[in-house]
């Protein structure tokens, strides 16, 4: 995690201990992070996690209570929104409903009192860039969701910003359209190489678009890393749960007759070396279900009742309950052992080296 002392060199956007309170409650609580030039970063977290407040502070809509915002090494904390060069694309796009596509895109230039001829030239260039020529005279409500998104992008990009801010631009859309529009953002980013910040609560959206993802919870930065690192090495139980891990278990080392065990939820897993007391994540796709009584070497196992089988199409998800613990596993549809029915006693096992140690969590 980047710290306050880290040099801002190389950072395009740097947030320093940024804090914002509403009615005594810290919506953003001392967040520091650095975004490299040309990077596509997602701010991911549950609603109420502080991500939109953070974005609004960067855009200049909300004044921070403490901390600083640096763009290209320069503090912009006291600058008005439009001087920061941070263009915002809003949730459901916030196109001006009473203005045509042309006037929506031209809005920023009009506010800068750019001459008519120059406005026409730049708007037609911007519309060409987002492939919307010929729709100048339409009104936003006459456009499809995809076209609206491109108008919003053209409107933001026409002022040649240094930073593109996307505030949940894809929520409230149906899944297929989301996927298409998500790819659009990534494509635009590939072309412009513009440093981009995307706020979302959708893990898939964040993971598929972003170079790095910042996970925010309760106003704090929980983890800031590549999607892969976040999924395979979650920094906390919060992150693990948020990115979809469902098996978070407590492991206690034990020793019997010179053999090392890890006690997990009442079952014992054989270890080669002494274990450490910690919380562990067992990735769902590592859990195997078997009717054999023995656990293979290098695996931990747990006997229990097969409680539930969910068919998800490509995957089959199952739950094994043993005492107070429930383990959730997933396997590919064609790998599902035929004939297993809910209610039977089975064994769930998983490779020990695939267990993820959750540092800090107890």
């Amino acid at each position: 995690m980047p710290s306050d002392n880290q040099s801002p060199e190389g950072a395009f956007l740097a947030l320093r201990s940024l804090t914002k309170r509403f009615d005594g409650h810290a919506a953003v609580n001392g967040i520091s992070l650095e975004v490299k030039p040309h990077e596509f970063v997602s701010l991911l977290g549950p609603s109420g996690g502080g991500k939109t407040t953070l974005l609004h502070m960067i855009a200049g809509f909300t004044e921070p209570d403490a901390g600083d915002i640096l763009i290209q090494g320069e503090s912009v904390r006291r600058w008005p929104s439009h001087r920061r060069g941070a263009a915002m694309v809003f949730q459901s796009y916030a196109l001006f409903p009473h203005l045509t596509v042309f006037e929506n895109v031209a809005f920023g230039l009009r506010m800068r009192k750019v001459g008519n001829g120059e406005v026409r030239r730049q708007v037609s260039e911007a519309l060409e860039y987002v492939r919307l020529q010929g729709l100048e005279k339409r009104y936003p409500r006459q456009l499809s969701g995809g076209q609206q998104q491109r108008v919003a992008l053209a409107r933001a990009l026409i002022l040649k910003p240094r930073l593109l801010l996307l505030d949940e631009p894809l929520s409230n859309l149906d899944p297929n359209l989301r996927r298409e529009l998500r790819d659009n953002f990534r494509e635009i980013h590939n072309q412009t190489r513009m440093t981009t910040l995307l706020v979302t609560h959708d893990i898939e959206e964040a993971f598929t678009t972003s170079d790095r993802v910042a996970i925010l919870g309760n106003g704090r930065l929980e983890q800031f890393d590549t999607p892969q690192a976040i999924y395979t090495r979650p920094a906390s139980a919060f992150v693990a749960r948020f990115v979809g891990h469902r098996n978070i278990v407590r492991g206690t080392p034990a020793q019997k007759e010179a053999r090392h065990f890890l006690e997990i939820e009442g079952t014992e897993a054989l270890l080669e070396t002494p274990g450490t007391a910690s919380s562990y994540v067992i990735p769902m796709n590592q859990v195997r279900i078997t009717t054999d009584a023995t656990t293979p070497r290098g695996y931990a196992g747990m006997s229990g009742v097969l409680e539930k089988i969910e068919y998800l199409g490509a995957l089959v998800r199952f739950q094994v309950k043993s005492g107070g613990a429930t383990l959730v596993g997933e396997c590919l549809d064609h790998q599902w052992p035929v004939g297993l029915q809910p209610g039977i006693t089975t064994r769930a096992c998983w490779p020990l080296h695939r267990m993820i140690d959750l540092p800090g969590a107890v």
């Binding site: 439009h82 941070a86 916030a94 009473h98 009104y139 002022l159």
Partner: protein, 281 residues
């Protein structure tokens, strides 16, 4: 007609019968009467009374004053209600309710009481002129003229304008304003290019309300205008009650009705066109 449609039609029947019997019938009777001339041989259809009305400069003066007072009242309500509606947007819903109750509580008092209160303030020996006198300033005529009527009407109808504008103001998406600010709009530019055009439907419906109610207002012109500031509504009353000239009264009422209706229709068409643009398609 299917049974379902019959059943839905039956839902509006009580109201329809009530309106038809107690409102439409007398109106039609009076209007018809204004076109009929009874003489010894029977009756003839004639527009003579209307010709007489429009031939008289006094009538034109009445109509002009009525429309002028209504227009100025509408404008005054608009100018005062718009900033308040802007403020309403920024308040929390509790604060908004409190402010709305405070501003609209005058509506709970009878128009007569409210208007008499203005007499105490505006009269020749009213509070304002007494204060001016103490300060050594010559008294000003705030009553028994157009100014008094406009002040009274503005007070009475301000709430309607405020409610209409606030309704469209609260529908505005905050993000539109943030987007405009992000694109470099100043506060004034946000107001002019985003807020005002998008509140136009509320402004128009509030204006239509205030204008029509001002044009037909009776109590305020009587109490604050006196005999010097006659408007169409007071003329109707005078003709019908004091002079028992029911037909002439009907003519004045009909002219007022048609004129206001034409103005409202024109404004509504304008509003409809604006709405279409806003919604597209």
């Amino acid at each position: 007609m299917t049974t379902a449609r019959l059943r839905s039609a039956s839902l509006i029947m009580p109201a329809l019968i009530f309106i038809a019997a107690l409102f439409l019938a007398p109106v039609v009777q009076i209007l018809a009467g204004s076109f009929v001339q009874v003489h010894s041989g029977g009756w003839t259809l004639t527009a003579g009374l209307y010709e007489a009305f429009f031939a008289d400069a006094y009538s034109w003066g009445l109509l002009e004053r009525t429309l002028r007072i209504s227009a100025i009242t509408t404008l005054a309500c608009l100018v005062m209600a718009f900033p308040v509606a802007l403020l309403m947007r920024r308040l929390s819903s509790t604060q908004r309710t409190v402010l709305a109750i405070l501003l609209l509580s005058p509506l709970l008092t009878s128009v007569v009481v409210r208007t008499l209160a203005w007499v105490i303030l505006l009269g020749p020996v009213g509070l304002i002129n007494k204060t001016l006198g103490v300060l050594g300033i010559a008294p000003v005529a705030l009553m028994y003229n157009d100014v008094g009527v406009i002040i009274g009407l503005t007070h009475v109808f301000f709430g309607y304008m405020l409610l209409a504008i606030t309704a469209s103001m609260l529908k505005l998406d905050e993000r539109l304003m943030l987007a405009a600010i992000n694109l470099g709009a100043s506060r004034w530019q946000v107001l002019r290019t985003i807020i005002f055009p998008l509140c136009l439907p509320g402004v128009l419906s509030g204006s239509v309300l205030v204008f029509t109610m001002s044009a037909s207002a009776y109590i305020v012109p009587v109490l604050l205008g006196g005999t010097a500031t006659k408007v169409m509504a007071t003329e109707v009353y005078d003709l019908a009650i004091n002079y028992l000239e029911w037909k002439e009264a009907a003519v004045v009422a009909a002219v007022l009705f048609v004129t206001v209706w034409l103005i409202v229709a024109a404004v509504t068409r304008l509003a409809a066109r604006h709405e279409r643009i806003g919604e597209g398609g």
